[in-house]
Symmetry: C2
Subunit: 395 residues, 2 copies
């Protein structure tokens, strides 16, 4: 491919991503959904104007790294500590229930698998796709409804953030086991070492960066150094610890989330993200999706996948909230608020596709899950909050 | 190469580019010089930490496209018209003299070449590398000295802008002839058709974009659509007209330079540029440079190249200024102000390397030219302007 030919692909991707993103927003769906649909339409799945290529894959990889870095940067450690314990418990159960439910769903379709087998691994991976709530979508919905600062809103937010972290750790563990010849103890040791090193080195890096940042606040070099740090951590995580590069990027974001220029870095990264790299990621998902495998069983699996993913979150998180003395209505809201899935589910799916753990039929299921959850959540939350208000007005 | 391995290369490129860029600025040289040096140091030329790769090339290509798009967006058509005619004449002669002088220099080293031969083409290409004044460096120097708004300053600025346009047209013509089997008449026809279409379609696109922009001013979609337009024009120029993609990008910038959001688009593009793509371009130049060919003749050629490039601009532009009734001092200032070379010379060189017209020894000469001119120009201009002030104070 001549170098200039990538320009055509880029232009088609950018314009279609924006067009379908805006269309999705018109339909009250998140723009991400539109971007994936754009990929489906321009890709080999339908029109075939753009073919997946190494360059698009590499740009997409940078895109997802930047998304995770940005998510890390937006972490509010103080807030996290405040609504801490309850949110932590909700998040843990909210990860555990879908993980188990998803694994069982896979086994339901492919037969029971013995612990440690390849099939067992695939089952657990299926569950891990279901674990991570999409903080972005959740926050946006709560903001729109004006309940972000309510107790319920704060709990959902904190739980969603912790959920994200746990989800990524789960993914790291699961992906660490991908090599059947590897030693689980060694992998566990590596993960622990990585987390310990992240905390220690992270703290040192944070202190040094903070001092440097104070001296050079708001200069161009700050975001460049920050992004380089993110790339290095992502690279080191994957290369030397067998840990997903997105985990490294996310931790790099958390390390820097309290420096003075965190928001400035985030803004710079986001501008790059939304303009060049993030669309490549979401459109790329669509490009890679193939509907050739849309047999009856695939459709059945996709429907089952969506139902299990949604219900396991509502029931898991809702039940814990009830135990933690929220009333029934608020517990249900928390459960529903936690059921949105977005980028992270896509990222994990993509990772699985790259590694050959799952096949393209999963993309269909996950895209269906994201579309259904991100349309259903806002509508359900809106209903629950306004219904609640009316009840209170009556009494 | 695993996808995540590009992250390491990117981090090394970003950090070294920033480091050496800042170092260059400390030494009063443009940051661009530092970024090229960074590429020389980390590349196969010295340390060999980063090897040139397809991905780096493609990112660099996007980088130079964005640089030219930004230069187009910053074009001030009104200003251009005002100091118009004189600047136009200065620019034309300022392109013509180095073009001829550069061609003669090449023939001096490689023997006279008959019109239309491969060697003649290489000679003209050598001359065309010398044509384009770097607007960026010139503007920055004049700003620093506080003479940007003086008559001399305005004339230099306008001439430098026109010079850039003419330089690109010359490059387009020269590159259009790269295929010895092609029909010069057809190429000329294509170039004329391209320019005519650019004006007509450009005006239509401008009107439509203007209306759309007014409705959606300062929204995220504006820069995305603008950049997509730039990519499409770059692609179409190269693919269907055999015209350099950077020319298309530059014209796309000029088309949009008068819409309401031109500055907003430019800012968005620049943020992407300076963070991700532009460093890839400048560092990439260094990565591609090889000093293995540093024989005595190469050094001699490089020194001759620099001298001819600088003197031909000073003499060509200065003489025209004198004819246009500037006094001797101001004429000299205009000549010196026009002698800075930067991105565009690199871009043309890079183009020639990609197409196999010139060899890597040219990089050495061009890098030397940029370093010498961008250090000598500020110093000489400063001397001339302050010397002038003292003379006036005396009399």
């Amino acid at each position: 491919m001549e170098t200039y030919e990538i320009l055509r692909d880029l232009a088609v991707i950018f314009i279609s991503a924006k067009l379908f993103g805006l269309l999705a927003r018109k339909c009250k769906a998140p723009m991400v959904v539109g971007e994936i649909v754009a990929g489906l339409i321009i890709g080999p799945c339908l029109l075939g104007i753009v073919q997946p290529s190494a360059f698009i894959n590499q740009m997409a990889e940078i895109g997802v790294i930047l998304i995770m870095f940005s998510a890390g940067l937006e972490t509010n450690l103080q807030e996290l500590k405040k609504s801490g314990l309850i949110a932590l418990v909700i998040a843990c159960v909210g990860v555990f229930v879908p993980l188990v439910a998803g694994s069982l769903l896979y086994m339901g379709f492919h037969g029971a698998a013995s612990f440690g087998s390849e099939e067992f691994f695939k089952a657990v991976f299926t569950g891990s796709i279901m674990t991570a709530t999409s903080v972005g979508i959740t926050v946006e919905v709560l903001k729109e409804l004006g309940y972000l600062k309510s107790r319920v809103g704060q709990t959902i937010l904190s739980a969603a953030i912790i959920d994200d972290i746990i989800g990524i750790i789960v993914l790291t563990f699961v992906l660490g086991f991908k090599d059947p010849d590897s030693n689980p103890l060694l992998i566990t040791g590596k993960v622990v070492l990585f987390l310990v090193l992240s905390v220690i080195l992270g703290y040192i890096i944070y202190r040094i960066f903070k001092i440097y940042d104070e001296k050079h606040v708001h200069t161009r070099r700050i975001p460049i150094i920050a992004v380089s740090l993110c790339f290095i951590m992502a690279f080191v995580a994957e290369k030397y610890f067998g840990i997903a590069d997105i985990t490294g990027a996310y931790i790099a974001g958390i390390i820097l989330c309290n420096v003075r220029d965190a928001e400035y870095i985030d803004r710079r990264v986001s501008i790059n993200g939304y303009m060049f790299f993030a669309p490549m990621f979401f459109v790329g998902i669509g490009l890679k999706t193939s509907f050739e495998t849309m047999s009856g069983e695939v459709i059945l699996f996709a429907v089952g996948f969506v139902l299990v993913a949604l219900l396991s979150k509502i029931i898991g998180c809702g039940a814990v909230a009830k135990v933690c003395r929220f009333n029934w209505g608020d517990s249900l809201k928390i459960g529903v608020g936690m059921m949105t899935r977005g980028e992270v589910a896509l990222i994990i799916t993509n990772k699985g596709l790259d590694l050959g753990i799952i096949d393209h039929s999963f993309s269909t299921a996950v895209i269906l899950l994201i579309i259904v959850s991100s349309i259903a959540t806002p509508m359900l939350l809106k209903y629950l909050f306004t219904h609640d208000k009316k009840e209170k007005a009556k009494s």
